[in-house]
């Protein structure tokens, strides 16, 4: 709801400030996309010689596509792990009482706010001590662990909107806990779960801090890009970045269309309570 019209007439600077912030937020992205077509490569103003050559170079770059494949597999696996443990965690926080629950809650949410390198480092030490070789599998474990908190937060928020009476009705009508879980609880949480899955997938695709320490021989996309950046800026990077951006944009548009169709208007995720 808005302030009534009679009160509107104030702050001229507020909309200007908003516009400025949006410009600030989008400047790098726009620059990136524009310069991915720049014949002169990176930098220089104004952009000249519009060309698709960087994109063409990108398409024949095997290493990049291999890393994209790796990232996608890791992301899918991370989604599975994060949901498989994050959904029960959210349920447990909502409905179960056990000693140490408060500590558990904080622990689950900690990787969200702790610098990623600490999570990565500590897992590295674990793998070191039990002699596990670093590979995509270790990255998957790392991502899964770090992103359980995302699943838990989203699903927990969804649980608050769930009408407890529906589950009670199901039990009343003869379904047991397991059946109620699959027939009533999960379907009602569908929106939260899908939202969590999309978010986890995207975060995993972009994850660097944890992956940095747990990488074996196979690179994920961010680490592949990272490696090239160390050697110097190439315009190919602009191209792949623009593609990533368009892809993320498509994902988020799909997500919001989905949400609208389900009639959800509340969009602010409640993070650390």
């Amino acid at each position: 709801m808005e302030l009534p019209v009679s009160v509107e007439r104030q702050s001229r600077w507020l909309p200007l400030h908003t516009l400025a912030v949006f410009c600030f937020l989008y400047l790098p992205i726009v620059t990136l996309i524009v310069y991915s077509f720049n014949g002169q490569g990176v930098g220089g103003f104004p952009p000249r010689d519009l060309t698709l050559s960087w994109y063409r170079m990108l398409f024949v770059d095997d290493a990049i596509w291999q890393s994209v494949l790796n990232s996608i597999s890791v992301a899918f696996a991370a989604v599975v792990i994060a949901l498989a443990f994050g959904i029960p965690a959210a349920l447990a926080l909502d409905r179960a009482n056990f000693p140490g629950k408060a500590v558990f809650r904080r622990l689950v949410l900690l990787p969200l706010i702790l610098p990623g390198i600490i999570t990565g480092l500590s897992l590295l030490m674990l793998f070191r001590e039990v002699d596990v070789k670093l590979s995509l599998a270790t990255i998957i474990l790392g991502h899964g662990t770090a992103l359980i908190s995302v699943a838990t937060t989203e699903v927990f928020a969804g649980l608050q909107k769930l009408d407890r009476a529906q589950e009670e009705a199901s039990l009343d009508l003869g379904a047991n806990y397991w059946q109620t879980f699959w027939r009533i609880t999960i379907p009602n949480l569908r929106l939260s779960i899908i939202g969590a899955a999309l978010l986890i997938f995207t975060l995993s695709m972009d994850e660097i801090a944890v992956s940095f320490f747990l990488i074996g021989r196979d690179n994920t996309l961010p680490l592949e890009i990272w490696g090239r950046l160390r050697r110097g800026i190439t315009p190919e990077i602009n191209a792949i970045s623009s593609i990533i951006f368009v892809f993320s944009l498509a994902v988020i548009v799909i997500w919001y269309r989905l949400r609208e169709r389900k009639g959800q208007t509340e969009v602010a995720p409640e993070l650390v309570q």
Binding site: P4, V5, S6, V7
Partner: protein, 366 residues
Amino acid sequence: MGSLADKLTASQNSAMSPAATLLDVCNIAKSFGRNPVLKDISLQVAEGEFLTILGESGSGKTTLLRIIAGFESADSGEILMGGERLDRLPPFHRRVNTVFQSYALFPHLTVEQNVSYGLRVAKLSRQEIAARVEQALKMVKMTAFAQSKPTKISGGQQQRVALARALVNRPRLLLLDEPLSALDANLRRQMQVELKSLQREVGISFVFVTHDQEEAMVMSDRIALLRHGALEQIASPREIYGRPATAYTAQFIGHTNLLRANVKGGIAHCGSLSWPVSVSDGPALFSLRPENVRMAAGERRTDFVRLKGRVLHQAFHGATELLQVDCGDGLQISMRSASRNDWQGELELDFACADAIPVRDSGEKA
């Protein structure tokens, strides 16, 4: 000191002595999108009056209140207070205060800080603020809770604080948006009495919005009945009950029987019944209150209509009950009577011709 009940009766009985007009609502209209919510409303609020705006949900009563408060602006028309244009002012410049339906107490301030809010904004002196707040809290009997937070007190207590917070600013007009709707029945009845006596005590005009017609009748000096954004009738409770202008009014306030009759040569014919009326010829509608239908005794009296019927069912209301009587020819009459268990056989009933009040047809059936 007379009892509270006496005070109430006295205030309702006294004819409205001609008091000055405080608020003049002129031809207010408001639509939300294509939906006309208020259609050309005009009314006046007198100084020191307790006016209730009564109506169903969707009648526009809350919108009207919000326009007076300043939270909405009307599409057309004007509002004058003391001869000056009120509708041109933003809400924080109007000498009008509101008691919200959800109380809207500030959760981050104590009761005392809530009540003093308007005074602090107006930058009154600390002593003045303290004195007025103390008086206001005493008036609503919340002195003991001055340092409590709103989340820690009950609904009824929050409502009192909301009242104090509004009244402490000494507004010229107090608006109350269904403030009692969240309270349970007993507390509600108690608060109705308290609010009415409070209004008498402070002497400020109250405009009270509700959908509960009993509540309106208990508390008001006058009732303005709103229907689909138009003013159906505005009169004192007794007047609006005893002389409803339309069928809608007659049915909305209290129970009634609506008799469809055909008037010919000064006689109304309704089925097998007929009685003399002073209404012009043609189809007519009459409102007959159930309490005006009684068991007939002895000879048929002049100016009374007699009828026979069998009891279909009875609804027990404690001291009285409401009977549904089948009088033949498709005519069913509601009748209110002292409670009795044994309504057997055919009854002889009658009602005074004068109690059949002619009403305008509202175009809506019961």
